[in-house]
Amino acid sequence: MEIIKKENGSALTLELRGRLDTITSPTLEAVINTELDGVQELTIDCSYLEYISSAGLRVLLSAQKKMNEKGSMKVTNVNEMVGEIFEITGFCDILSIE
């Protein structure tokens, strides 16, 4: 998986490309743990995200918890497959998905 970071003041966009699974989610987790200082608006851009498993969901959940304390987070451009996973796991209710 590739993570493309776009910073704009206190807004950070992380564009995820490829698969967010057991193997790759630690990479995203590291970014979430180290690079959210001063970030108030986090956007997870899923335009090129092809696949997500529960390991990926776990990282998204922990990002959401972190952002709840200091700002907001949204998930954008979700494809049908990833959207279905959010749907059946109830993540569509706890994440703000555009």
Binding site: E50, S54, E80, I94, L95
Partner: protein
């Protein structure tokens, strides 16, 4: 002394000594018995002949010029030696006299339909043919045994042919030989060992590819069975049976043809086959059919039958069959085992119905009830089958099974597992969307096993794929701690993010993504099966 069966062959007995003293009078005697015109066949019975000198041999040379077919039979060892030294065994047909032995009061160590094997002394056994088999059959069996031995089957080869009463017998040197049937009957605790040796030997036999024309094709026999018995079935079942048997792949596997535990002996620590007259070539499903027939089929109506033939009871025989089949297929895949069993049974019933009617008729109530029972089973099996063979190559290549992957139960193996499963799903025609949906389920299950199955060390997971009737199954088998992931309660999806925990989410997703999921714990193994169906319309759910 004319042979009543053939006016053109004359048999003349020889006796005592034939040397320069009496050679000319002997020749005169022989010629007077032959008469004015030389017969085509002349047989000299040497049973009572003690000695023949060169003067006697010259008579043979002259007779050979006049009779195209001159043979000497019942030749004693001494006379045979003279004939061999002088090259006469190459020029005329010479048949040795057979040693006569008695098997009275000898222990029977194995008994089949065609022959019984007796122990003569501690290192000699003799196989006596029951149905008056002639020398030709014995010679043929010796040749097939030799072929099998050369091709790698541990086979006992007889070193002598003897006369036992009116029958012939083959003599083998086998130290302290005991048949597997005896071992199972007398030492039931050795069943596992017997199953293993029995199946190992069967794998060896089946792995041999038989050169064309060397052995009779088993399928022809099976087709013959069906042709003779199919009139007993309704037309649809008859036609389907014929079609399915015809469609079995013509493989070149060596088959034993009558592979049961009376025909396998343990002699001086070595496991050997002693009955090779049924050797044939073809698909292993035919062999499994005959094994089923011997251990289960024939006894389905009357359980006493197997006790009579094998010396152990029907329950033991059934257990032996089931364990052997499982070991032969070398798999934990229950569905596959059941499928192969159904195929073998289908062939076995058509064979058994034909056999029973030919050997015992259909006259008694018992005959009819037995055949009825087999017919019913056969028709039920036929309804559920679309083919009778299976991928025997994969079974025989053991670990090379293309549909199974065994990996260390750790996260590092995940990619290998995912690639393995998705490659097979794509090859089976599943659209990318379904492949991805199933991949998530596979990941969740595999990671769960990698993380929790072996808390105190390492172990492996076997992943097996299976495709049938528009559905894909992935089976995970591990020997870790007993754990049923489906027993875990589903997570509460209504909680806000701050209270949500991810535990159990993976399994929950899997339940939603797969069309079916099941768990069982058997023989110390966790077996989890995921199923995904190919939607009829081609669109995923």
């Amino acid at each position: 002394m004319n042979d009543p069966n053939n006016q053109n062959t004359i048999t003349i007995p020889l006796s005592g000594r034939i040397d320069s003293n009496n050679a000319s009078s002997e020749e005169e005697r022989i010629r007077s018995l032959i008469g004015p015109s030389a017969p085509k066949g002349l047989v000299l019975d040497a049973e009572k002949l003690d000695y023949i000198s060169s003067a006697g041999l010259r008579i043979l040379l002259r007779l050979r010029k006049e009779c195209s077919d001159l043979r000497m039979v019942n030749v004693s060892s001494d006379v045979y030696e003279i004939l061999e030294m002088t090259g006469f065994t190459e020029m005329i047909g010479v048949e040795k006299a057979f040693r006569r032995i008695s098997v009275e009061n000898c222990e029977i160590i194995g008994e089949g339909f065609n022959a019984a094997v007796y122990r003569i002394d501690s290192d000699t056994v003799v196989k006596v043919y029951k149905h008056g088999e002639g020398l030709e059959e014995i010679k043929r069996e010796r040749e097939t045994a030799r072929l099998a031995l050369i091709l790698g089957v541990p086979t006992a080869i007889s070193y002598d042919v003897v006369k036992v009463g009116n029958s012939f017998g083959s003599v083998f040197e086998l130290l302290n030989a005991r048949s597997f049937s005896k071992i199972i009957a007398e030492e039931p605790e050795r069943m596992s060992w017997c199953v293993k040796e029995y199946v190992d030997m069967l794998h060896v036999i089946h792995a041999i590819s038989v050169p064309e024309g060397k052995l009779p094709p088993v399928k022809e026999e099976a087709i013959g069975d069906v042709q003779r018995m199919k009139h007993l079935l309704d037309p649809e079942h008859a036609e389907k049976l014929m079609h399915l048997v015809n469609a079995v792949a013509d493989t070149d596997n060596m088959l034993h043809g009558d592979y049961h535990t009376q025909n396998i002996v343990l002699a001086d620590g070595e496991v050997l086959l002693i009955d090779m007259d049924t050797l044939c070539v073809g698909h292993p499903v035919f062999e499994l059919a005959r094994i089923y027939r011997a251990y289960v089929g024939f006894s389905e109506y009357d359980p006493a039958i197997v006790l009579k033939f094998q010396g152990f009871d029907a329950d033991t025989a059934k257990e032996f069959w089931q364990r052997s089949l499982r070991a032969y297929l070398n798999t934990d895949d229950e569905a596959f085992i059941a499928e192969v069993e159904a195929k073998a049974r289908c062939i076995a019933y058509s064979d058994m119905i034909d056999w029973r009617i030919r050997h015992m008729g259909l006259d008694t109530d018992e005959d009819r009830a037995t055949v009825e029972l087999w017919k019913k089973e056969l028709c039920e099996l036929l309804d559920g089958l679309t083919e009778l063979d299976f991928d025997a190559g994969a079974v025989l290549s053991g670990g090379q099974d293309a549909n199974a992957l065994e990996v260390e139960a750790e996260r590092n193996s995940l990619e290998k597992v995912m690639d393995f499963v998705s490659e097979r799903l794509v090859a089976a025609g599943f659209p990318p969307k379904l492949v991805m949906r199933f991949s998530i389920a596979v990941e969740e299950i595999f990671v769960n096993i990698a993380d929790y199955a072996y808390p105190n060390g390492s172990g492996t997971v076997k992943v097996r794929t299976r495709f049938e009737n528009e559905s894909a199954k992935v089976v995970f088998i591990d020997s870790g701690i007993r754990y049923d992931p489906l027993a875990k309660p589903d997570p509460d999806l209504d909680l806000p993010a701050s209270e949500r925990r991810v535990g159990g989410l993976g399994i929950f997703m899997t339940k939603k993504l797969a069309d079916d999921i099941s768990y069982e714990y058997r023989d110390g193994k966790n077996i989890l099966t995921l199923e995904l169906k190919l939607p009829a319309g081609g669109e995923p759910k």
